[in-house]
Subunit: 285 residues, 2 copies
């Protein structure tokens, strides 16, 4: 599934002859090589479970989710936010291309995400508009990634809103987008995305606390350094792993009845297991 | 027309209860009080000339253009680009709210622009998708504002591409979007937008060279300071004004036949006259 997603992303990011070459390179650098492509994989898995009768639209939706995710990483790594030197095991975008192109790359990836949906949606325009709404709400304000990041500029942060916006929103959008692309009611797919988003947050906390920088592909121990809340600090290692497994099980249970619900439930459990850092599995066994 | 545009913008930017308050304030600060709202006015004027049978969609398209314009100003003013302290006669966004919120405000305005179109487009989804495409192409790469700004990071800049992307793209999108919102063929409206965009660039060059900072609402003499190409340097004052008037006349001439073509031509000439800084009109008379 990852190779299919990468192929569509690569086509979308093919540099145009008359584009500024630095921006074209920076956009590809921000997206390739990717991480686990977990959000687009989730979107495609849901679309397939729902019958996937408009596969090009489902692929566009999946890729849009990944472009929006990569855009948020490009901007979050900037010196005025996390000032991160490393991302996915290589220099962060602004370290490699400078701040101007890092800002512009984030902008261009956001725009491209919406363009992909519009381009793929002409045969099913109502689905395309519904996808646009779900993606916009997952990225914008009040409840999307950008709003989540903006909570960091407030003196007092409601943690629940913060995590739901910054991490959860794009997972919820992923399951809902998969359903919309296949012509299903997206509301029924929201709980699955919410549980997976919460689970991913716990997994990220485990990674931050226990993985080496090489394994994580980015600096770790940032939560302790920045005094951010972390599920490991709150629950302990085995408590956090139990919580993660419970959330993944709840996500699998919440898969609505549909043609492919059985294999999708199995896939969710498998994806969840992969979220636990290898060296911690023995601790929790 | 400006007050109608401002009313729709104000509704779109009404702060949600659960939004991070700083981001909500910064988004309004970036959009209000506005400049001349020339791009959205142009879009609405074209829609009205074309019969304006879907006025809510035309208003959404007009406001999206303004949000995308304001987003580009917010990002262009950042220290890593123009490092501007003043915009529209008040402290620039990052001076007033800090760099993190200035970056996030630009992002959130881009997202909101696409959300507005999708929300207003359910009754005419094909038009909404066409609007999304036109707006995305006017903002993204290879030929939109972001690409225009990215040319500044290149060692060698093709001036024609640079100006068409950085200034012209949103004018072309404005006339085309007005036509699309009213169900007309957008291609016929492209030349009008192109001529107006070129004219606006000349007007901006005149403003940079001859207006005081107070009149311009932003620092002037930047082209000389940054050794940027400028129509005044190339053509002289009266040459630049003649060029501006010729472009506006060409824009008026290029208005396609439609129910309201006669008043629209008059409006274009009137808008064009307003682009000439008052103190220079005598010079050119």
């Amino acid at each position: 599934m990852k190779s299919r997603i990468d192929a569509v992303l690569s086509t979308a990011l093919a540099p145009a002859d008359d584009a500024p070459p630095g921006l074209s390179s920076a956009m590809r650098y921000a997206v390739f090589p990717g991480g686990a492509r977990i959000r687009p994989s989730l979107c495609l898995a849901v679309a397939e479970a729902c019958g996937n009768d408009a596969p090009a639209l489902a692929e566009a939706a999946a890729c849009s989710l990944e472009l929006l995710h990569c855009a948020s990483l490009a901007h979050d790594d900037l010196p005025c936010f996390d000032d991160a030197d490393v991302r996915r095991g290589k220099p962060s975008l602004h370290r490699a291309f400078g701040q101007p192109l890092a800002v512009l790359t984030g902008d261009a990836l956001i725009v491209l995400a919406f363009e992909l949906i519009a381009r793929a949606g002409t045969a099913t325009p109502q689905r395309a508009l519904a996808l646009t709404m779900v993606l916009a709400q997952a990225v914008g304000t009040p409840k999307g990634i950008v709003a989540g990041q903006a909570w960091e500029s407030e003196a007092s942060v409601p943690l629940d809103l913060y995590h739901r916006a910054k991490t959860g929103a794009l997972f919820t959008a992923a399951t809902m987008a998969g359903a919309i692309a296949a012509g299903r009611d997206p509301g029924a797919w929201r709980p699955m995305g919410e549980k997976l988003g919460e689970g991913y947050q716990v997994a990220d906390d485990l990674l931050d606390a226990f993985a080496s920088s090489e394994e994580a592909g980015k600096p770790t121990m940032r939560d302790v350094a920045l005094a951010r809340p972390n599920a490991v600090a709150a629950l302990g290692v085995s408590g956090a792993i139990s919580r993660l497994r419970a959330l993944i099980a709840a996500a699998a249970d919440s898969v609505p009845e549909c043609p492919g619900s059985t294999p999708l439930r199995a896939l969710v459990l498998q994806m969840g297991e992969r979220l636990i850092p290898a060296r911690l599995k023995q601790t929790a066994a």
